[in-house]
Symmetry: C2
Subunit: 151 residues, 2 copies
DNA sequence: TCATTTTGTTTTGAAGATCAAAGTATTTCA
DNA sequence: TGAAATACTTTGATCTTCAAAACAAAATGA
């Protein structure tokens, strides 16, 4: 049965919400002061740092799909809470590099483990043959939504 | 290749965002004053109305996963913009029934057509054999996330 | 070189979405 | 009838977001 079209987006939203609220309560013990969105920002900052990719403010904002101004205010809160730091870029002193603190790395590690666990559990519930199909569907989805296939 | 676990949720977020921003711009010509969230509220109200399911304020809020207070304020704006109406329930005068106006039905129709089109287009890009697998994955996902399979 | 433009970020002002808790109106039930 | 429960709204606060203005530094070009 083909999924009921009009409810697909709500279905995705529902899954996302379950995921993030589950994660918030999971992390609650150690990091009581992080919203799902803040965790996502930390994730992107850590990923940029780990892979040596551009970690200036504008690049992080672009990766998150938000404006620079929005990121500035979120980062200020996360700096306040000691998950991130701003570092002046010596090569271009207009720019600021956003870096995780030790606490930021720790939160990101828990976050990553959480998703590995969830995804592993979910893949285990699928009929074995469907796991590959699932991966293919994700790849096609990525292509579909990257090209402007949306009218 | 199994999807990179930590980025699955961000991938879903990305798709959702592309969908809703595409929809916002698509609907912009006719309904300039509706956010994606407001459209979603209208969708739920229309669905309740169409299927004769409980359409009192509390039921709509529960379906959306938000508190009654949040819904009250959103509905007030949508009443102001003439997409919804509040009707006093004669059987229980504490309750309010949330109903779409003609304009609300029209917006919902466009919304539904949009998702039918998108979903149809996407399914057409998939290798034929993967369409069924995709449907199964969605069903399993629903079951997985409905049971508290999340630790 | 130095004035102009461009670039990277922050600030500002405003709006939307959200919640918890307090408040109001109505119903239920003991 | 009076107390408790229910359905909703209001209030006060926070978070997320954007666009536009402001600021600082770099790049350009005459």
């Amino acid at each position: 049965m083909v999924p009921k079209t009009q409810s697909l987006s709500r279905f995705l939203l529902y899954i996302l919400e379950r995921l993030s609220s589950a994660e918030e309560s999971r992390l609650a013990a150690e990091f009581t002061d992080l919203s799902a969105r803040e965790l996502q920002i930390i994730e992107v900052v850590c990923a940029a740092q780990a892979s040596g990719v551009d970690n200036r403010s504008s690049a992080i904002a672009a990766a998150l799909g938000i404006t620079a101004g929005t990121l500035t205010s979120s980062v200020s809160q996360l700096v306040e809470k000691e998950y991130l730091t701003r570092q002046l870029d010596e090569d271009d002193r207009r720019a600021r590099r956003i870096c995780p603190t030790e606490k930021g790395w720790q939160a990101n590690t828990l976050h990553t483990l959480f998703y590995q666990e969830i995804t592993g559990n979910f893949l285990n519930t699928l009929p074995p043959g469907d796991v590959d199909a699932f991966s293919r569907v994700l790849e096609y989805a990525e292509i579909f939504f990257r090209k402007k296939s949306i009218p």
